[in-house]
């Protein structure tokens, strides 16, 4: 099969393209770091390629892979017009090897090509220690500004550092950490390009009622008008990517629950799909349909959290809607509890299928939910859709056009509300989504009200999918028969020696995927969740990259909130629908 992307690149930049690798249908093109910028522009602008969406930027420390040079940055590209993906890799030598101890490996920044690279490159700089030349504002993003070292490098130890969990500036015992958090010189780093004299600069967050967890927004105000609004994240950073490198593939599934903790099933699915693709495992149809049903239920639950909190944030006082929305989310969580024993941290999907078979009452309880829920959506719609106050608060607020959204890598309902019917469930179906009949709700206004309408319409579509899923579900094995990844059934262990050996190997060693790399993406309620995995053939991933949709979407806050009023910030943040667990990872 000819590869158009590679051929065109090779033809146009013969000396920039260093090589090509294909693994599980995913192409990695290695590009000379010095010419990355040229290649990027070409990839974005060439009419036959049009890789307009930069999904992810991440660095890899290849010290233990035996590859040279030591570092590489990877760019996950997606072409929405041509529905095609490619990965660009640019190897980087480590200056430290040549005796330049304090110099970081450097590469050109692609922020000028894809706006979304801003935060992603900052994160790579922060965690991997790669410098991006020409980046508008290269500072640490997840770790404190005066952190020492770059944790994702292989020579950075896991654990061993004492951490004080109190930051009281008055207490001499905690003086150091207190200073680190509170008084660093870059403490007001976000304010550098703000006019603190002429305008009022206010912090919203981290300890603030409207910022959904520990998000900080530095807001520059002229009266009530927002001049700029800079989000600062990282308060909840817990090093998921580093942790993943020391955990077996299977053991990382519970960590996925802690990413976007209001859509755990969806996170599980995205991760499990990536590992399954890596291992080349087939999942039985029954399990695939069950996954679809559960993930769509999760989408409804996630949208309920969004709706309740958004309505409360915007209106301040409609607690009623919050309580109603949470009441119906509880119904879904009840189903989850019945399925797997947990309400929020489900970890229900395992590589190769479901962790346990569905309980007998599953279908009935889902049907019961489906019967009651349409009335509820109608209730919500009567309360909000034509409510004049609600409309004036949302219409025309936080406009993000499709072009801006794609440039900033914004996905999910935000992108669809801008008129782009881009949904991975349709574009690159996974888990048998291609067998389902559903529409992608879109709107064209691109404002907060359009996002509201899109999400409300998605509730109806999710219900359609669940209904079809129930019809298809039937009976069948709930996980693959491949004993290399899935535990054998209990009864088989007592009779078959081979089953016992598989069981022993899986429990003690875990499974070992082949050497290779891939980047699995799935459409989460909030946008595209991506898991990049580099396998070195051991039971632990060599590098595990997580792309949280909230993290990328949050970048658009500044653009959306500018020139609005102070109250609009709350609307904007609410309509992005963020979960800080996923932002900070």
């Amino acid at each position: 099969m000819t590869d158009l992307t590679y051929d065109k690149l090779k033809a146009n930049f013969p000396d920039a393209v260093l090589g090509k690798e294909t693994f599980r249908d995913e192409t990695t093109i290695t590009v000379d770091a010095a010419q990355l910028l040229k290649v990027s522009k070409f990839l974005r602008d060439d009419p036959e390629l049009r890789f307009n969406l930069l999904l992810d930027v991440y660095g890899v420390d290849r010290r233990d892979l035996g590859a040279s040079p030591r570092f590489a940055t990877s760019y996950e590209l997606y072409s929405i017009p041509h529905n095609r993906r490619v990965r660009i890799e640019a190897p980087l030598a480590d200056p430290a090897e040549n005796g330049k101890k304090d110099t970081l490996p450097a590469i050109d920044s692609v922020t000028g090509v894809w706006g979304t690279a801003n935060w992603l490159e900052r994160e790579t700089y922060d965690l991997m220690g790669i410098e991006f030349k020409g980046h508008p504002w290269l500072h640490r993003i997840l770790l404190p500004q005066n952190w020492v070292g770059h944790p994702l490098r292989k020579d950075y130890p896991i654990g061993g550092e004492p951490v004080n969990f109190t930051a009281d500036r008055d207490n001499p015992r905690f003086a150091h950490l207190g200073k680190q958090i509170m008084d660093t010189p870059t403490f007001h780093s976000e304010l550098e390009d703000m006019d603190a004299e002429g305008h009022l600069v206010v912090n919203m967050g981290p300890q603030h009622p409207a910022t959904h967890g520990v998000l900080r927004l530095a807001v520059e105000l002229d009266g009530e008008r927002v001049i700029s609004c800079k989000p600062e994240v990282g308060y909840l950073h817990s090093g998921f990517e580093k942790t993943g490198e020391s955990k077996r593939y299977e053991k990382f599934i519970p960590y996925c629950d802690r990413l976007d903790y209001v859509s755990t099933m969806s996170n599980n699915l995205a991760y499990v799909l990536a590992v399954e693709k890596l291992m080349d495992v087939d999942v039985p149809k029954h399990a695939q349909y069950a996954r679809v049903i559960l993930v769509e239920l999760q989408r409804i639950a996630s949208h309920m959290v969004w709706l309740g909190t958004h309505a409360m944030d915007v209106s301040g006082t409609i607690h009623a809607l919050l309580m109603y929305a949470f009441y119906w989310r509880e119904q879904i969580l009840d189903i989850f509890e019945m399925v797997c024993g947990a309400r929020m941290t489900t970890s229900y999907f395992s590589v190769g299928g479901l962790r346990w078979a569905l309980p007998g009452a599953f279908e009935d309880s889902v049907r019961h939910f489906l019967k009651g829920f349409p009335e509820v959506i109608k209730d919500f719609e009567t309360m909000l859709t034509d409510n004049p106050v609600w409309r004036t608060r949302l219409e025309g607020v936080g406009v993000l056009t499709a072009e801006q959204a794609i440039d900033l890598g914004v996905t999910g309902p935000l992108l669809r509300a801008a008129g782009t019917g881009f949904d991975l469930r349709k574009a690159q179906p996974y888990s048998s989504y291609d067998e389902f009949d559903f529409d992608i709700p879109t709107a064209t206004e691109a404002d907060s009200y359009a996002r509201y309408k899109v999400r409300m319409a998605e509730l109806w579509q999710s219900m359609r999918i669940i209904e079809q899923g129930l019809a298809k579900l039937g009976k069948g094995p709930h996980r693959t028969a491949d004993r290399k990844v899935a535990l054998p059934p209990r009864e088989e262990i007592s009779t078959s020696m081979e089953a016992l050996i598989h069981h022993f190997k899986l429990v003690t060693e875990g499974y070992k995927p082949p050497v290779g790399r891939l980047y699995g993406i799935a459409e989460n309620p909030k946008g595209i969740l991506g898991f990049g995995i580099i396998s070195d053939g051991t039971a632990n991933p060599y590098r595990l990259r997580v792309r949280g949709p909230s993290f990328v979407n949050l970048q658009a806050t500044d653009l959306m909130a500018r020139q609005g009023l102070l109250s609009d910030i709350v609307t904007v943040v609410g309509s992005i629908d963020i979960v800080l667990g996923e932002v900070d990872r």
Binding site: D168, R169, M182, D183, L200, P206, Q207, E224
Partner: protein, 118 residues
């Protein structure tokens, strides 16, 4: 009659006394353990940046000015309204002129954009 207003004065004193007692007594009831962190200005858990005493945008001042003008005009309505029944048509015409002048100012500030917040 000024004597009519004596009860109001008494009420004022009583209310002020109650407020004073309510605000002073708890001061001696609660613990006192101040620290720099506690008495810092609250700004979402961050150190405050700059002072809050600064020039405020002209908008608010304009509202105050507009209020002054219109409120004084509204005050003129009060005595007029009380004796309106005696003034009859004369009062109506007089006030019609007054309202017309008021309206001119109102339309003027509207057109000038003083009522806009953008």
């Amino acid at each position: 009659m000024p004597a009519d207003y004596l009860p109001i004065l008494i009420m004022l004193v009583v209310a002020a006394l109650f407020a004073l007692v309510a605000l002073i007594v708890p001061y001696y009831m609660g613990p006192r353990n101040p620290s720099t962190s506690k008495s810092d200005t609250y700004e979402s858990g961050k150190l405050p940046f700059g002072t809050a005493r600064r020039q405020v945008p002209i908008h608010y001042y304009m509202v105050a000015m507009l209020f002054m003008m219109f409120d004084i005009e509204v005050i003129f309505f009060y005595p007029w309204a009380v004796i309106f029944r005696q003034l009859k048509i004369f009062g109506l015409i007089e006030m019609g002129v007054f309202v017309a002048i008021l309206l001119v100012g109102y339309v003027y500030i509207w057109k000038k954009g003083a009522l806009e917040w953008d």
